[in-house]
């Protein structure tokens, strides 16, 4: 796949369709992959990668990139296309400056999980038939994909691209029974005291590094309210438990109805806080209260918080969970 993508990127650069390519490049370690913009075939040859460590959602980078001179090629995994559509619906990216190539994704590996299995010296990874073959300096090791896959990929909602200019590889399907709300349901089933304890345990670890916000494709504000001294809620670091809660509640609320559930927030959290569980709660509530809604699936759809129904349930209705 990597070769195919590289070849196509070079063609598009060569024929002038695009002048830049947004993709992934290997970092210090082969599993430490970062988004990167390539301007020449040479740069692509040197650094472009696409493998099962390429987790980053590239759509957010288009907010800045699509406003630059010329057209940019972007490779989007299925879940990234939802973010892309959402950004499009919110006029955050300029479609005419973007050439989208959809690439398949069968679930990205979580390097932490591999490390926890004692796998060291990782140099590469290949997935085939539900098995990761992890290349290491000590030779190849095989791992069942389900054991090493990132949490978010285990409950992947869709392997189907919702937007693209061209597609490389196979197209997947939307998975209606992805069980992505299982953990939310488990939390809902707890007593309020247990839930409170759970979230205190999680959120108290927050170091306010803002990684979740910076990676989130729904958090593209020119200036975040938490950085704006005039907003009345600006804060650089969470001083008290209240501020820890405040940041995450407001962030989740601001992306409610807009979050596509790409899971980047939890992926990048250095403290491993399951932030996606906050967003998924809103998604689940929206589905239950106002009918199924998948942000980004249809850029023309009315956002649930931008519309209403006269027969909507009352706030607080429906009893306790």
């Amino acid at each position: 796949m990597q070769a195919m993508m590289e070849k196509r990127a070079k063609e598009l650069l060569a024929d002038g369709t695009v002048n830049r390519v947004l993709g992934w490049s290997a970092g210090e370690f082969p599993y430490d992959i970062t988004p990167a913009v390539f301007e020449t075939a040479k740069e692509l040859e040197d650094a472009f990668v696409y493998n099962d460590f390429c987790a980053a959602n590239l759509s957010k980078y288009l907010v800045k990139e699509s406003r630059k001179e010329g057209k940019i090629l972007v490779f989007l995994k299925p879940c990234d296309t939802y973010s892309f559509n959402q950004l499009l619906a919110e006029h955050r990216i300029l479609r005419e400056n973007i050439y989208v190539i959809g690439v398949p994704c069968y679930g990205k590996a979580d390097v932490e999980k591999l490390k926890a299995m004692g796998i060291e010296g990782i140099t590469g990874i290949v997935m085939q038939n539900g098995t990761y073959t992890v290349e290491t300096v000590y030779g190849d090791q095989t791992v069942k994909a389900a054991d090493a896959m990132a949490e978010r990929c285990l409950s992947c909602k869709s392997k189907k691209h919702v937007v693209y200019d061209e597609l490389l590889g196979d197209e997947g399907e939307v998975d209606a029974d992805c069980n992505r709300f299982d953990m939310v349901e488990k939390l809902e089933a707890m007593t309020p005291d247990e839930r409170f304890a759970f979230w205190r345990g999680e959120l108290s670890r927050c170091i306010r590094c803002n990684a979740c916000r910076n990676v989130c494709p729904a958090c593209t504000c020119e200036q975040c309210v938490f950085d704006n001294p005039n907003s009345g809620v600006s804060q650089k670091a969470a001083v008290t438990s209240f501020e820890e809660n405040l940041f995450h509640i407001i962030r989740a609320f601001h992306v409610a109805g807009r979050c596509t559930d790409c899971g980047e927030c939890s992926r990048v959290c250095p403290q491993h806080i399951p932030l996606h569980l906050l967003n998924r709660k809103f998604i689940k509530d929206i589905n239950e209260f106002y009918g199924d809604y998948q942000a980004g699936a249809d850029p023309e759809a009315k956002p649930p918080l931008g519309t209403y129904d006269k027969a909507d349930r009352e706030a607080g209705e429906g009893g306790r969970h």
Binding site: R67, E90, E222, N230
Partner: protein
């Protein structure tokens, strides 16, 4: 830093009786930025305002906090006073320590403490207030009157008299409303038609008045000065411009079995009809539910006999759009359905009638040509029982009834009783009442005449049941003063059914966002001081839609309403509410979240150039608010994730400062 003055009002003892006003003034005087603090007996009085103005001058105040009654009461008064001294009116904040403190709390310490806290919140807000300049919006110099009864007609005539154009939208084929159905009017006994129909004709002939009869309001958008309404003109299947109202069609139409709603279903009309002789506009209407031609495609007699070719079976509803500066609601009332009162046998005997049906039975243009005859056998009734308060004055345990007094029944029943005794002296008339209410000019005199001069039997007590027996109506009732149960064999029983707002009122209220009470009467902006205005600017109330009224009251309210409308239409520009949303372009993402929740379409987007890093320019899509269209609800401010959208006068920071002050 603001220089704030605090003025604590005693409101006589209304506030000072429960709140230690001196302590409040003293405590608030300690707040940062407060350079002057005092209390006074009546801040709203001329001398109170002078005191405030002097303090503004003397202490060079930049902000004012008045601790007094509700801002809904005197905010405007104090703002005006401050403006006279050069302080921007929006630098004045009110702490409501009367309605929200002294009137609901009894304990002085508690009330004083709360008053201080509310004062602090107002001070905290003023610190963040900014002078606001009100914008202006143009006024469409035309009024819409919804409902063509006496209320609507009078309002329209008065507005037209002042030189402004008025449209009357009436859902039935003619204007005239309930008054057109009445026989005589109390307490003068002049004939309703004789005094109403000239007004109907005036309305029709007035070039400033457009009558859209047989039409319904489809939608209303906009705000005071700038409403846009869609009016559905229902198909009459008769060309209004051609029909001369000669009535030949209504005589020749073979479909004779259509219940005549104008006569309360007591007789029949044709499928093509003119509701009554003096109808305005006097144009025939085809009732498509009954017309043989419309139902089967065979007949067409009316079309053949029509001399002007006015009949058009293919006519369709049309929707017209008109612009208005003000809207008058004059949707009136209906008697409640007497069907639900089976103890009075309304459904069992045709001789149990409602008062409005009796009006038709006594009217010279009614089904009996004015001779009072029983509907069942067309004989003259000799014993007539009137039952008062049918469905009025019921509490919530009685779901058939209304909690209010319908107001007009006592008087019209006295009128009915008197007219019957006058015309048919051999008739025994009984009136069963709970109370007889006659507050009105010459009203009690009128009622006493019925009792004393005409010998109507007024009996304190209610009717328990009415049963048809051998052609008579057996009435079982109580005479509470004599402590007797009475049994009367009556020929006719007349029910004074409660009146309720027209069924269309509820949906209309929603369309106009004009508030209503639980009985579907429109709420006035103030029960005493602004009785003809709805709380929604530009919406005015005329007649029974606001509450039960008799004709003289309705007419005076209708004229009062017209005066208010004229007050709007006479202005070339209206001052807009300056408390509108505005977008900080530097923060705006251009995401359209705000645009989606704006009910007025006040937000638009444009691409603007911004300075980027390293002397580059960035083009970004940003929102801007049209301040003339924005009404200041603030929906957009919460929809905006970046905090770019804020509301002037109720900014995020101001509200949070109030929260902080209250929670301190």
């Amino acid at each position: 830093m603001q220089r704030i003055g605090v003025f604590v009002c005693h409101c006589g003892t209304n506030i000072a009786g429960t709140v230690d006003v001196v302590a409040v003034a003293k405590a608030l005087g300690q707040e940062p930025g407060v350079v002057f603090s005092t209390e006074y007996q009546y801040m709203c009085s001329e001398s109170g305002q002078q005191l405030m103005r002097a303090a503004i001058r003397e202490h060079k105040l930049t902000g004012v906090v008045v601790c007094s009654c509700s801002p809904r009461m005197h905010e405007a008064t104090f703002r005006k006073a401050a403006a006279l001294e050069g302080v921007n009116p929006y630098m004045v904040e009110i702490a409501n320590i009367r309605e929200h403190v002294s009137w609901i709390h009894k304990d002085m310490a508690e009330a004083t403490e709360k008053a201080v806290i509310l004062g602090r919140a107002a001070i905290a807000k003023v610190h963040l207030n900014a002078p606001l300049q009100a914008g202006e919006s143009p006024v469409t110099k035309r009024a819409l009157v919804i409902g063509g009864g006496i209320a609507g007609i009078q309002t329209a005539l008065d507005i037209a008299e002042a030189g402004f154009e008025v449209d009357i939208v009436e859902k039935s084929p003619t204007i005239g409303g309930k008054m057109a159905q009445l026989d005589k009017t109390f307490p003068t006994l002049d004939c309703a038609a004789c005094i109403l129909t000239p007004k109907m004709v005036d309305a029709a002939q007035n070039e400033k008045i457009n009558i859209f009869a047989y039409s319904e309001l489809e939608s209303v958008k906009g705000y005071i000065g700038n409403f846009k309404a869609q009016i559905r003109r229902k198909a009459r299947f008769v060309d209004e411009t051609k029909c001369t109202g000669c009535g030949i069609c209504t005589e020749k139409c073979p479909q004779k079995k259509v219940p005549n709603e104008f006569n309360m279903g007591l007789d029949n009309r044709r499928a093509i009809y003119i509701p009554f002789a003096q109808a305005v506009p006097k144009v025939a209407t085809i009732d498509a539910n009954y017309c043989t031609m419309m139902k089967t495609g065979k007949c067409g007699i009316c079309s053949k006999v029509c001399g002007t070719g006015a009949i058009d079976y293919t006519q369709k509803d049309t929707v017209i759009e008109r612009e208005y500066g003000a809207i008058v609601v004059a949707t009136g009332f209906n008697p409640i359905d007497a069907k639900v009162y089976n103890e009075y046998g309304y459904m069992d005997s045709p001789d149990v009638v409602t008062s409005l049906e009796l009006e038709r039975l006594m009217n010279a243009a009614g089904p009996t040509n004015g001779t009072l005859l029983r509907p069942s056998d067309k004989t003259h009734p000799h014993t007539i029982v009137f039952v008062q308060c049918v469905g009025s004055r019921c509490d919530e345990t009685d779901e058939r009834g209304k909690p209010y007094c319908s107001k007009i029944c006592c008087m019209y029943t006295a009128k009915h009783a008197m007219l019957i005794r006058e015309k048919y002296p051999d008739t025994d008339v009984y009136v069963f009442y709970i109370d007889v209410r006659t507050p009105g000019k010459n009203f009690d005199e009128f009622y006493r005449r019925a009792v004393e001069q005409y010998g109507v039997h007024y009996i304190k007590g209610q009717v328990g049941k009415v049963v048809e027996q051998n052609g008579k109506l057996h009435v079982q009732a109580s005479d509470l003063l004599a402590n007797e149960q009475l049994h009367i064999d009556a020929d006719l029983v007349v029910l004074a059914t409660a009146i309720e707002p027209d069924k269309t009122a509820r949906s209309l209220g929603t369309m106009l966002t004009a508030s209503m009470d639980t009985n579907d009467f429109f709420t006035e902006a103030h029960p005493k001081l602004r009785p003809v205005e709805s709380p929604t600017a530009g919406i005015f109330l005329s007649g029974v839609c606001q509450g039960p009224k008799d004709i003289p009251e309705t007419v005076s309210q209708a004229s009062a309403c017209a005066a208010k409308v004229i007050g709007v239409l006479a202005k070339d520009k209206l001052t807009c509410n300056p408390c509108v949303a505005h977008s900080d372009e530097l923060l705006c993402n251009g995401c359209s979240s705000c645009e989606k929740v704006c009910p007025y379409g006040a937000i638009s987007y444009s691409d603007k150039e911004f300075r980027g890093p390293n002397r580059t320019t960035l083009i970004r899509r940003v929102a801007s608010v049209n301040p003339a269209v924005c009404q200041g609800c603030g929906a957009c401010t919460v929809a905006c994730p970046s905090g770019a959208m804020d509301l002037k006068g109720f900014s995020n920071k101001q509200i949070m400062a109030e929260v902080d002050a209250i929670c301190k």
